[in-house]
C-alpha cells in the first residue's frame, strides 16, 4: 500500500533543523529546500501517489490552544500520509483556565511518547518556549500575530507554481497586517526569494515601521493595484482586536475588498490568493474568490504538500541530531 518517492532524493545535507518555528530565521537555501520538497509531494499527489511510509512509527500530536479546523486537518492528513500516527490534543485557549502551564502540558504529551508536536497558540513565542523544553520536533502552526510558517510556505509555493521565479515580482499583502502572522511569514519568505512586498490596509492596522523591515507599506489598495503581480487577501481577525480599528466591515470592503471591478484594473495575469477561511463579501467578493485568477483551492492542496515536506525534513534532522 505504501509507495516510494524516488524524486525526493537523498535527505538534504544542508537541512539541520529539527524544529520549524518561523520563516524569519531560515536561510534562502533552507527555504528553497522546503519549497522543492513540497513540490515533489504536490506532484506525486496530483499523480495519485498519496501515501508513504517515511514516518512509520512516528507519532505526531497536534497541540492547538486556538481554534482551527483547516490547518489541523491538513497537518493530521500530512502526518498520516507519511505513515505516522497523529493524535489531536485540544487545549482551552489559555493554560490559566486549565491550571496547567503550556510547558507542563507539552511535557506530559511527550512522556506518552511522540516525535513531533504541531503547536498553535495565541501568544507569540510559545513554540520557541516549547522547543527549549521538550525533545521532540516543534512545528509552529501559528503563534499569535508572530509567524505561521507553513501558511507562508504554501502561499509562496502557490505563487511559484503560477508565476515561476519570484525574483523581482511584487506581492501585495492586504488586510489586518498588525494582527497577522500570515503577513509576517509571507514577508520574510518572499523577501528572501527576491520579491518586493507591499503590506496594505487601513492606517490603524498598517504601521510605517514596516518600512524599517524592508517592506513597503500602503493605505490604498487602489494605488498599489496596477503594480502588483499577486494579492494575498488576509482575513480580518476580529478576534484579535480590542479597539475597533475601522468603523464597519462595509467600509472596509469599500476600501480594501477585492471585487471584479478592481480585478479589471489590475494586471491581466494578477493572481489572487487568500489564507482561508475567507469572509465572503468582506475581503473578496464571490466572483473573485471563485474566478480563474484565484488560486484559493490550490493553496489548500499545496498546504498538505508543504506540511508533508516539513514533517519529513524536521523528522530527518531530529533523527540525525539525536543519533549524533
Amino acid at each position: 500500500m505504501f509507495n516510494e518517492l524516488p524524486e525526493l532524493g537523498e535527505f538534504p545535507e544542508n537541512w539541520k533543523r529539527m524544529h520549524l518555528l518561523g520563516l524569519e530565521d531560515l536561510t534562502r537555501e533552507e527555504l528553497l529546500i522546503l519549497l522543492d520538497k513540497a513540490q515533489v509531494f504536490r506532484t506525486a499527489f496530483d499523480e495519485g501517489r498519496r501515501k508513504f511510509s517515511f514516518l512509520s512509527g512516528h507519532t505526531s500530536v497536534t497541540l492547538f490552544f486556538e481554534n482551527s479546523t483547516r490547518t489541523r486537518t491538513s497537518f493530521s492528513l500530512a502526518a498520516q500520509r507519511l505513515g505516522a500516527s497523529c493524535v489531536a490534543f485540544t487545549a482551552s485557549t489559555s493554560s490559566l483556565s486549565k491550571g496547567e502551564s503550556v510547558v507542563d502540558t507539552a511535557k506530559n504529551l511527550e512522556a506518552m511518547g511522540c516525535e513531533s508536536m504541531v503547536v498553535r497558540h495565541s501568544t507569540p513565542g510559545i513554540p520557541h518556549l516549547l522547543a527549549e523544553n521538550v525533545n521532540c520536533s516543534i512545528i509552529n502552526a501559528g503563534d499569535g500575530a508572530h509567524e505561521h510558517p507553513t501558511q507562508g510556505l504554501l502561499d509562496i509555493l502557490t505563487m511559484r507554481q503560477r508565476l515561476g521565479s519570484l525574483e523581482g515580482k511584487t506581492v501585495g499583502v492586504v488586510g489586518d497586517i498588525a494582527h497577522s502572522r500570515v503577513a509576517r511569514s509571507n514577508a520574510w519568505g518572499l523577501k528572501k526569494l527576491g520579491a518586493h512586498v507591499i503590506v496594505c490596509g487601513p492606517s490603524t492596522l498598517v504601521s510605517p515601521v514596516w518600512k524599517e523591515m524592508g517592506v513597503e507599506f500602503s493605505h490604498s489598495l487602489d494605488a498599489i493595484l496596477p503594480r502588483v503581480d499577486v494579492l494575498n487577501m488576509l482575513r480580518i481577525q476580529f478576534e484579535r482586536q480590542y479597539t475597533s480599528p475601522f468603523p464597519s466591515t462595509r467600509e472596509y470592503s469599500l476600501l480594501f475588498g477585492m471585487n471584479s471591478e478592481r480585478l479589471r484594473r489590475g494586471k491581466s495575469d494578477l493572481l489572487v490568493i487568500a489564507p482561508g477561511p475567507i469572509n465572503r463579501g468582506v475581503e473578496l467578493t464571490p466572483e473573485v474568490a471563485d474566478g480563474p485568477q484565484s488560486a484559493i483551492l490550490d493553496q489548500v492542496s499545496n498546504g498538505l504538500a508543504v506540511r508533508m515536506a516539513v514533517l519529513w525534513l524536521t523528522d530527518g534532522a531530529r533523527k540525525r541530531i539525536q543519533n549524533a
Binding site: 497558540h121 515601521v209 524599517e212
Partner: protein, 435 residues
C-alpha cells in the same frame, strides 16, 4: 554570613578604602571611624580597641537608598517577604528601601504601616521605609487617610502598579499631601493606550507580533502629572521614567520651577527592546524596555540632573507566575541585587558615569528626595553608619542560589557581572560580610 553583635556596640574602623561621599564632596583614601552606630570621624589610626575592616582597593560609600521596592508582603508572600526582600537589599549594597503599597491588602491604614515596620524590625536586615497609598484600597476613588499615614512615618504616597485615572482625585492628592510635606509618587501610564500591550511598540514589536505599548501611554500621563503638580504647587516624584519625551518634559518642568523629581531604573539605563526576540518573560516589565534612543536619553537625563536618582522597581514574581505565556506573565523583574553590578558594567566601565556620580544617584539623591532624616544617604560626621563597601572588580555569576530574593525573575540570570558590595553596615552594625 551575618555577625550578630550584642547590645554593646563595638567601634569599627574601616581602613584604607577609597571613601566616596558626594554629599560632602569627598573622594579620597582614608579610614572611617564608627562609634555607637554613627560616623564619628575620618583619618583616625587604629587604637586596637576597634574592630578593623580592611577596605584596601575597595570603595567605601553611603549605603544605597531605594525609593521603589516591591516587598509583596502582605498578600503575595510566595513572591517575596519583608525578610527576604530586605535581605536581597543588603546583598545589593542597599541599607534603606522604601516599599510600595500595592500589597494585599494595600497599605492604606496606620495598622498596615506598623505591620511592615514590625516585620522589618524582626527581619533586622536594613532600614525599611513605607510608602502609603494615595487612594483608599488603591482603588483610585477616594484619598487615603494621609494624615494618619503621615503620623506613622510614611515617606510618600503612591498607587504604583497603576496610575490614577481620575485627574481630579490626583489634583486633590497633590493639594492635600502638601500639609504633610510628602511627595506624590506617580506611576504614569494610560491603561487605554497600553491596551493589553506587552512590550514597547515599535519595529521590534511589529516584527515579533507582540502587542505594543506606545511611549505615548507613559508620556501623556507624565505630562498630566507635571501639569497637575505645577497648578497645585504640589510635590511630584515621577517613578520609572523610560522615554526620551518623558526626560524632555521633566527637563522643561524643572526649568519652570515645578517641584518635580524623577527616578529611572537600572534596566531602563542598560537594556533595550530588541532583546525581546527571546520572548523571555523576564524582559517584560512596566514601563517596557525601550529602544536605544530612549536609553541614551535616560542616561543624558541622569547626567544633567533631569533624572534625580536610580530606583530599582524591584518587582519579584514567583516562577509559576512568570514562566507563562508572555501575554499572561506579570510585569516586573527583581533588581536590588544586580543594580550596582549592571550599572558598573554599562555606565562606569564604559566611561559614561563616574563612581561619585553613580553613588550620588544611588544613595545621596534618593535620601534627599524623600527627605530622610539627615543621617541617611551620607557619611557626614554624626550620620547613621549606613555604609556599603564595594569591590568594583569582584566578578560573580547571577544564579538562583546567589539571589536572596524569594523570586528569581532576573533578565541577568546566568550572566557574569562585575562589581559587588562585599560588606554592608546598617546603623553601625555589620549586616553583610562576604568572605
Amino acid at each position: 554570613m551575618y555577625e550578630k553583635i550584642g547590645n554593646v556596640m563595638q567601634s569599627i574602623l574601616i581602613k584604607n578604602g577609597r571613601v566616596i561621599d558626594p554629599s560632602q564632596g569627598m573622594d579620597c583614601v582614608t579610614n572611617v571611624l564608627i562609634e555607637n552606630g554613627r560616623i564619628t570621624g575620618f583619618g583616625m589610626r587604629p587604637t586596637g580597641k576597634e574592630r578593623e575592616i580592611d577596605a584596601e582597593g575597595k570603595l567605601v560609600v553611603p549605603g544605597f537608598v531605594d525609593l521603589h521596592t516591591h516587598l509583596r508582603e502582605p498578600g503575595f508572600e510566595e513572591s517575596e517577604t519583608i525578610f527576604t526582600g530586605s535581605d536581597a537589599a543588603l546583598n545589593g549594597g542597599y541599607t534603606s528601601i522604601c516599599c510600595i503599597p500595592n500589597t494585599d491588602p494595600p497599605i492604606d491604614t496606620p495598622a498596615d504601616v506598623e505591620f511592615i515596620q514590625d516585620q522589618a524590625a524582626r527581619a533586622d536586615h536594613c532600614n525599611v521605609f513605607v510608602i502609603g497609598c494615595i487612594s483608599k484600597k488603591r482603588e483610585g476613588k477616594e484619598l487615603s487617610e494621609m494624615g494618619y499615614l503621615a503620623r506613622t512615618g510614611v515617606v510618600g504616597f503612591s498607587d504604583d502598579g497603576s496610575d490614577i485615572e481620575n485627574a481630579d482625585l490626583l489634583r486633590r492628592a497633590f493639594e492635600y499631601a502638601q500639609m504633610f510635606d510628602l511627595p506624590i509618587m506617580c506611576h504614569t501610564e494610560d491603561k487605554n493606550l497600553t491596551n493589553r500591550g506587552v512590550m514597547h511598540e515599535g519595529c521590534v514589536s511589529a516584527r515579533l507580533g507582540l502587542r505594543g505599548i506606545p511611549s505615548l501611554a507613559e508620556d501623556v500621563m507624565t505630562a498630566r502629572a507635571i501639569m497637575l503638580a505645577e497648578y497645585t504647587k504640589g510635590r511630584l516624584h515621577l517613578m520609572h521614567i523610560s522615554t526620551s519625551r518623558g526626560v524632555e518634559l521633566i527637563r522643561e518642568a524643572k526649568k519652570r520651577g515645578v517641584n518635580v523629581t524623577a527616578e529611572v531604573t537600572p534596566h531602563h539605563l542598560t537594556l533595550t527592546d530588541d532583546l525581546l526576540v527571546s520572548f523571555d518573560t523576564n524582559l517584560k516589565m512596566a514601563p517596557p524596555l525601550r529602544p536605544r534612543e530612549d536609553v541614551e536619553a535616560c542616561i543624558e537625563g541622569l547626567l544633567d540632573g533631569t533624572l534625580d536618582c536610580i530606583a530599582t522597581d524591584h518587582a519579584p514574581h514567583s516562577a509559576e507566575k512568570k514562566q507563562r505565556e508572555i501575554d499572561l506573565a506579570p510585569f516586573g523583574i527583581v533588581g536590588l541585587e544586580t543594580a550596582l553590578s549592571v550599572l558598573n558594567m554599562e555606565l562606569i566601565l564604559k566611561g559614561r558615569l563616574t563612581w561619585p556620580q553613580l553613588i550620588d544617584k544611588l544613595a545621596c539623591s534618593p535620601a534627599k528626595i524623600i527627605k530622610l532624616p539627615s543621617g541617611k544617604g551620607t557619611l557626614a560626621v554624626g550620620a547613621d553608619a549606613d555604609v556599603a563597601i564595594i569591590d568594583p572588580e569582584l566578578k560573580w555569576t547571577v544564579t538562583e542560589k546567589e539571589l536572596r530574593s524569594r523570586s528569581k525573575n532576573s533578565p541577568w540570570l546566568g550572566k557574569e557581572l562585575v562589581g559587588r558590595a562585599v560588606c554592608v553596615l546598617v546603623n553601625g552594625r555589620v549586616r553583610l560580610l562576604r568572605r
